[in-house]
Symmetry: D2
Subunit: 220 residues, 4 copies
């Protein structure tokens, strides 16, 4: 059994919690409010921006064989940012001056921290888990969302074939990395897989419930 | 006005929110449950452990003039861990096998990320803010907690004179760094100050309300 | 006076030492041996490979405004590697299994070290200095080398207009960075400029005299 | 056979080249000029300074079990710097304003680069190799140098029992790390071992022949 199969099997309940999150389900069923969607839109724009330096960190650590593929991801993420800007403009949302919600800030620090201080195997696992999660999450949305929806371009972007090929590539490479790794490293990769899945869940939760930082309501 | 004075003045409301957090107030007033205190104890033990590599990152970036002082912090943190272990043993709490709560994980990634990828000025500001916050937070607790309390050694550790001298040193050095920095860097230092204060608040909140990761309750 | 003008003026003697290096002069005048050129070819192929993770480090640290430009450099470096492979094949040189010479190893560590542990301003200065040096060095070669030479494609690559535009961009950005930096940071940028120029000189020297590691001849 | 035994056996010729370097042999035999020794003294003072941030990097990456030991190395290196300052003062040498020679700069970048961007296993191997090399090199000197020599305190420092215990600790830990590592990682550790030994040889060579940067003599 490959690493990715083992992870998705062993942590299937965590994975289902993510795919059944009310944000996804309600977006799929046309029941999500615009305001809630826009919270996601604004926060995720910041997150995608932060993914670019993370890919830079992966490039700085990766083997020669990964550099061309990773190098092509940076322009792809720049294009993704343009999709956000174009959608934001269409939907009348301002993404230029957004403060990161708590979970978003934390997830971005998770990227930067693993990119900067963990092994390549671990950092690559974080990236794989995040992209796999987005591919599958937006496939859930795509099962019901009207193709005429203003939100549908995001389904096309992440649930589509091109992105699916990237996820397949990441999956086959993460499996290769795991295969060549010691049990100790493999265990760390598993930890990164579950952590990242939990950050993904927390991100949907933040989009659904708002970007506030915990405890700030105690202020008099 | 020094950088630290400017920060504590401009963000006094955020700072008060922290110092008035119910965890601190109830600990001071002898109203906190043992269970809640133990949640903090277990989580903070993990956090202090994570502070050691963060100091390593500071040492790797800092000027010659800081190396002796920073070098002395590592043994001090190792001693702090022993205080936790000794208290945990007295209180019958197991700190050996704790999973980080969401906010704890996030705050640790915040340390690692700024330590690994931000400028020394920013990373040093994070450290100053975190230690200043702990010094003042435990001074709040010390205003009321019975000296015979099993929890009092933590007051002695962080509200005491020796730790106070460390905080004074960090304060004078962060002010010096700010003084020699461009406006652009100073603005980033301010951002690190407010972020770190908000992580501190979130940490008390996690201790008070539990270490769960957001959204995991959706799982069927 | 801009930062780059100040540097090239103040350190003009160091810069001239580089541009008058016998490797460049003899290549220009058709007097360099094939063997010596091939030493350069093999070593520089390794160096360009190492530049890719360095650009990854820059991407991981740079401001939003630089990310698209830096992101485009990775595919350009991958293309540059193909130029090396194609030339090597034409010239009958094997670049697949080269051990780095001492100076090459050292210069690569210089890239990785500044990319990983110095400020963005310093790391960007290293990159600017290295590319500026290559642009001007190969313009020297271009002043005399026969356009039919097997080596001429390297002149076209680095002395040409497209690369010149990249160097202009880097120059204007390094000047902007310097302008917004404190005197302390600017002084560090100057140090990186001179260090990198000295590594460039040492690199030509290694190509000219051989890639041996110092002192290994003492072995009995 | 442990990793360290395998390395010292397989690369015994490289290791002998180091231990038979004329700098060591002539220092041992009382034949080295003061000027040459002082070149070493000044350059190595800079190198030891640079070792402190490198240990910071190790602390930032290492397992919990290494943190106390690594934390104790920082104060030890600060003491070592005081030995240099005291000896320099006695010998009438100014170590306060030294520019790094080429090989010294390169070796420092090697530390910073592996500390910042390589795996812990690799960075720890660099540290082990460097300290093992110094222990054995100064044991060579100690075989002949008069105990009344002004230089003898360096023999006491590095060839002595206390330092020997540190080297033993590093050796047993590097062997443990290798034992738990995949063949791929072990191969990288070997590369770091040989590279670092070659930097050590180059360092003695620089002390012996002078700190100039290659090629700078071409300047008109």
């Amino acid at each position: 059994m490959s690493f990715s199969e083992a992870m998705l099997d062993k942590h299937s309940s965590l994975w289902s919690t993510m795919l059944e999150h009310p944000f996804l389900v309600e977006t799929r069923d046309g029941e999500l409010s615009e305001e809630t969607f826009n919270t996601w839109l604004k926060q995720d724009y910041l997150f995608v921006k932060a993914a670019i330096p993370f890919i830079g960190q992966l490039i700085s650590k990766g083997p020669d064989a990964h550099r061309r593929a990773l190098g092509d991801i940076i322009p792809a993420l720049n294009d993704e940012l343009e999709l956000f800007e174009e959608r934001a403009s269409t939907l009348g949302v301002d993404v230029t001056d957004v403060e990161p919600g708590f979970t978003n800030h934390a997830y971005i620090q998770h990227l930067k921290s693993t990119g900067g201080t963990s092994s390549y195997e671990e950092a690559f696992t974080v990236y794989y888990a995040a992209e796999k999660a987005y591919h599958e999450s937006w496939k859930v949305v795509g099962e019901g969302l009207d193709e005429d929806s203003q939100w549908y371009p995001f389904v096309e972007n992440w649930a589509g074939e091109e992105f699916g090929q990237l996820v397949n590539y990441l999956e086959s490479e993460v499996n290769q990395l795991a295969k060549n790794s010691s049990p100790k490293v493999k265990k760390k990769m598993e930890r990164r897989f579950t952590e990242t899945t939990k950050y993904e869940i927390a991100f949907w939760e933040m989009a659904y419930n708002g970007p506030e930082w915990p405890g700030t309501e105690w202020g008099s």
